[in-house]
């Protein structure tokens, strides 16, 4: 965990006081809605179909158990007893009252959590690998660099009124769990041939109405230049990004229209002027921020302790272990994913009681730390292997041990028309019904890794373009229809899915998905060939024929 200091506390206290004042001014009529809206959005407060919605930032997906408990408290006290974890490692409360928001914000601020910059045309919460600091795959802890960017971008005077919102993601592992290639800036931390730490910089990725994979603008940026280079990108975007059309205002359109090379050249020119200025990250500065990350005092333990070996005799535990437990960089430890996708429940939702229980489990077994992943699951990144059996039993009791991580019913879904004022169609009930069709987890396991992503509108909060199967809700003559894409992926081989055919009505979606999965089971060369690899090998035609012949 990064330890906030007096500075961060003062900053938050001042902003909470300011928001309280703004809410009071609004309720008293001193501010019109037009004036108030941008102010509430700056604090993560939206107005949705039924109520206000508060989006709370979880910087780089890291939560302490105290913070999670406080989120549970807010859910219980000011909402309806649950929260929704999002694809951007945030949490949303769906039923909050404007008049209660100042109190809720103050309660969150006490543990260093807030909704600032979770909306608006600013630099949003910087996201990263939920396994950061724990996975043996990484070259460095990407949260360090995310934290540096958090400090840099918070209330940035020049970049709070950009042409459009701006999302940065970082990976420090070759296997990209942060979807960096579909972000405005995607950063891949690695070492060059000389062993120097630096970033591969991609710009202009994104989903939404006009999806793009990010374009390479700098193969190797020495880490010390991270802030000056990001500032150069932001300045070029702020000056030259389109503001005439909201749908063409993201940086991806600027990069696309002038070309990645011309864009990179413009950034390079700007960067030359500032690279040795105040934003240069000297090694002692980086060391100082690094020193504020407190790492667990891991015991010296061996892998595969007897407690674990004994528990693996139990098939139910063994199944969960195979599915939800991953290797840790420290021997004798493991990374545990907590599925928030029990079959038939809204994807990514957790009740206040579940949040409290997970916080308690983090205290007991996980060095008080919890992570949020963009797949809308949680994670305990630091668990001793000998504690896994006890942990599993308690997760199981709380409905949090569904062994379906990365399987066909581990579905990403946005809130959709059931909550969201922008949506055209529902997403959650579609996910629920598909998950029920594959409720037999043996069947789901037989299918293997398969990511289904569902968005209720073109804004693509459910990342449908990069789902192995993507489902996009659209409205046709007042009815819900869904477009299906296949072959998308969000990882280091990111690509956009291909449209399978005409949109189908709500009722037909689950069956159509089953048909696609059945086609895959017939077409794959072996159980080792994943769905997305079969699509890559054969193209979409065999799937198209099979699916549309049936409908």
């Amino acid at each position: 965990m990064y330890v906030y200091d007096e500075f961060d506390r003062t900053f938050l206290a001042e902003r909470v006081a300011e928001f309280r004042d703004q809410v009071e001014r609004r309720l008293a009529g001193a501010l019109t809605e037009d004036e108030f809206k941008p102010l509430r959005l700056m604090n993560g407060v939206y107005l949705q179909l039924h109520a206000y919605m508060l989006r709370v930032a979880i910087p780089y997906g890291t939560l302490s158990s105290d913070q999670l408990r406080r989120l549970a408290h807010v859910a219980r006290t000011y909402d309806r007893g649950y929260g929704h974890f999002t694809t951007r490692q945030n949490i949303q409360f769906n039923w909050i009252k404007l008049e209660d928001l100042p109190e809720a914000m103050a309660a969150l601020a006490e543990v260093g959590v807030h909704g600032i910059q979770t909306s608006g045309n600013c630099i949003r919460n910087v996201t990263t690998d939920q396994w950061a600091g724990a996975t043996p795959e990484e070259v460095d802890d990407p949260r360090l660099w995310a934290e540096i960017l958090r400090q840099y971008s918070t209330a940035h005077p020049e970049f709070s009124y950009l042409p459009r919102k701006f999302k940065i993601a970082i990976t420090a592992a070759d296997h990209d769990r942060a979807a960096t290639k579909v972000h405005d800036i995607g950063l891949r931390l690695h070492r060059n041939a000389e062993g120097t730490l630096g970033f591969e910089v991609l710009v202009g990725g994104g989903l939404g109405r006009t999806p793009f994979i990010g374009k390479l603008v700098k193969p190797f940026l020495p880490a010390e230049h991270l802030l000056s280079y990001v500032e150069a990108i932001m300045r070029v975007y702020n000056r030259f990004g389109r503001r005439d059309n909201i749908y063409k205002a993201r940086i991806k359109i600027l990069v696309h229209e002038i070309g990645a090379e011309a864009f990179a050249a413009e950034v390079e020119k700007e960067w030359e002027a500032i690279r040795e200025g105040v934003l240069h990250l000297d090694s002692d500065v980086v060391a100082d921020i690094r020193s504020r990350f407190v790492y667990p005092a891991f015991e010296t333990l061996a892998d595969n302790p007897p407690e674990l070996a004994a528990a693996l005799e139990n098939p139910a535990f063994a199944t969960w272990h195979r599915n939800s437990v991953h290797p840790h960089k420290v021997p004798g430890h493991a990374i545990v994913t907590i599925s928030l996708k029990p079959v038939g429940a809204p994807p990514g939702d957790a009740t206040a009681d579940q949040m409290d229980e997970i916080a308690a489990l983090a205290d007991a077994y996980g060095f008080r730390e919890i992570r949020v992943g963009h797949e809308q699951n949680l994670c305990l990144p630091n668990v001793a292997q000998k504690d896994l059996p006890a942990l599993w039993q308690r997760l199981e009791a709380a409905g949090l041990a569904t062994p379906n991580v990365n399987l066909v019913n581990d579905i990403i879904a946005c809130p959709g028309l059931d909550y969201c004022s922008l949506a055209n169609a529902r997403a959650i009930p579609v996910a629920q019904e598909i998950a029920r069709r594959f409720a037999d987890l043996d069947r789901a396991r037989g299918v293997g890794r398969l990511h289904i992503n569902i968005s209720g509108c073109i804004n693509a909060c459910g990342h449908h373009h990069v789902g192995h199967i993507g489902i996009l809700g659209v409205e046709k003559n007042g009815q819900e229809f869904y477009q299906i894409t296949v072959g998308g992926r969000a990882d280091e081989h990111a690509q956009l899915g291909t449209l399978l055919g005409p949109a189908v009505p709500y009722e037909q979606v689950p069956e159509l998905i089953e048909d696609i999965v059945d086609a895959y089971l017939e077409l794959r060369q072996s159980p080792k060939e994943l769905f997305v690899d079969t699509v890559a090998r054969l193209g979409i035609d065999p799937f198209k024929e099979r699916v549309y012949a049936a409908h």
Partner: protein, 102 residues
């Protein structure tokens, strides 16, 4: 908010004016008495663009009661009761279409 004068208003059937209450976001409907009600049954139902516009303009005069008023379709059943005219409005009346986590 788009001014109602700039808003293209096409009314082909019965409509109401709806919004969210400022203090808590609860869904409200404009009544014939130019107040807001949390019950759709209390809503003023109009059937032409001029009446709809007048209702909307009345709703926009004060923005300290309700936020973001707009015109929404409704349907009348055989007994004359009003029901939401599309899925979005049905969800605003009845809540999400699945069981909420508990």
């Amino acid at each position: 908010m788009t001014s109602p004068l700039q808003q293209k208003i096409k009314v082909t059937g019965p409509v109401v004016v709806t919004a969210n209450r400022l203090a808590d976001g609860v869904v409200v409907w404009r009544t014939a008495g130019n107040t807001w009600s949390t019950q759709l049954a209390d809503a003023a139902v109009v059937t032409n663009a001029a009446d709809a516009l007048a209702l909307l303009e009345g709703a926009q005069k004060r923005d300290t009661d309700a936020v973001g008023p707009y015109i929404a379709p409704v349907e009348r059943d055989a007994e004359g009761l009003i029901h939401p005219g599309n899925l979005r409005e049905r969800i605003r009346v009845a809540g999400p279409t699945f069981d909420l986590p508990a």
